[in-house]
């Protein structure tokens, strides 16, 4: 069962801190979204393994877009 990581606030992808296959724990830092010249961290919603990353650095993202999938 994969959990979707959603965009918490619109902006652009500043940096991706994990790779597909990485094991993450809940609240680990996944990526950074830049909005209004401010870097905002996005955290893992659950424990698991990163199974898919749907964005790349520089992408513009809207509220509730799917950033990546985490397999529990």
């Amino acid at each position: 069962m994969a959990t979707e990581v959603l965009v918490p606030l619109a902006g652009s992808i500043w940096e991706i801190l994990v790779e597909v296959g990485d094991t993450v724990e809940e609240d680990d830092e996944l990526l950074v979204i830049e909005a209004l010249k401010m870097e905002n961290l996005v955290y893992a919603p659950c424990d698991g393994t990163v199974s898919e990353i749907r964005v790349k650095k520089g992408d513009t993202v809207e509220d509730d877009d799917v950033l990546m999938l985490i397999k529990e």
Binding site: L9, L36, M38, N40, D63
Partner: protein, 367 residues
Amino acid sequence: MVFFDNMGLMALTPGMVFMWLIGLTLVYLAITKQYEPLLLLPIGFGIVITNLPLTYLMEPGEGLIWRFYHYGIEWEIIPPLIFLGLGALTDFGSLLAQPRLIFLGAAAQVGVYVTFFIAYTMGFSLQEAATIGIIGGADGPTTIFLASKLAPQLLGACAVAAYSYMALVPMIMPPIMKLLTTDTERKIRMKKGRKVSSREKLFFPLIAAMVIILLVPASAPLIAMFMLGNLFRESKVVERLNEVSQNALMNIVTIFLGLSVGATMNADVFLRKEVIFIFFLGLFAFMISTASGILLAKFMNLFTQNKINPLVGAAGVSAVPMAARVVQKVGAEADKKNYLLMFAMGPNIAGVIGTVIAAGIFISILK
């Protein structure tokens, strides 16, 4: 001997030297701490230059910087042009998604009016008191605009106070925000607003300009230019005008704004005890505005299911987008997965408009 008599050194006064220190301090803070460098750097330099004797730079009718000041600020050209750029930079989406947050931007004007009455009872004239109060709105161009109309003698001091407090937003606001909210309130996660269509965003500047100017005609120079800039942005057909308004034009007029504001601050005008009061009253206004936004948000929560995180109310002081960033930071300290930034932008932008309206009301009553 004529050469010696014409040398600036001979006409130097201790007050001028003291003003150099103030000017150089602003330059220093702009460079090392990056406190509002785009403004405080030219302002600081302007202060130093205007306090070099016998230059006649601010001599009415002939001085170079006087011309910038006279045609740019006294003629009310520069602040409205800055507003054109701000309008082009502003995305009203976060406000339109949650229109109720407009009230928080309005609440933050309480500091303006409270300070206006206090300054008046302290002996400032009505016009001066209004100019000091508007510092609480934390909006530089509006403060300069109002000062040039009502109390030009206070323009330099009020502008420097406004820009200094905007630079100090990350230090002034958090203690007030923490004092007035509980940990549970800071953790409130807000529900996302509705999607805003591009058609709404297109109609908004047109309708807002007409409604606001019909109600408060004296706010027209700033509001008209702001909404025109926003129309450039949202119409999507004049990308060149949009781009030049938010970048090149705004940067150019900022140079003249900073330099002329700094140059109004000669030692005779600035080194008076009233100026100290202006700085204290300005800070007070700013703090009251921060607090009143928070308190209104808490009050609104009494009547609504869809709770507002009261921190967002603090962003009602203009200072775009620094105030919104501070809200995001303080919110994330309580709950790192809480993203308040975009919610805070709503009251933040409403605060800009609110401050312009407050200034317009002052002008129509006191001018």
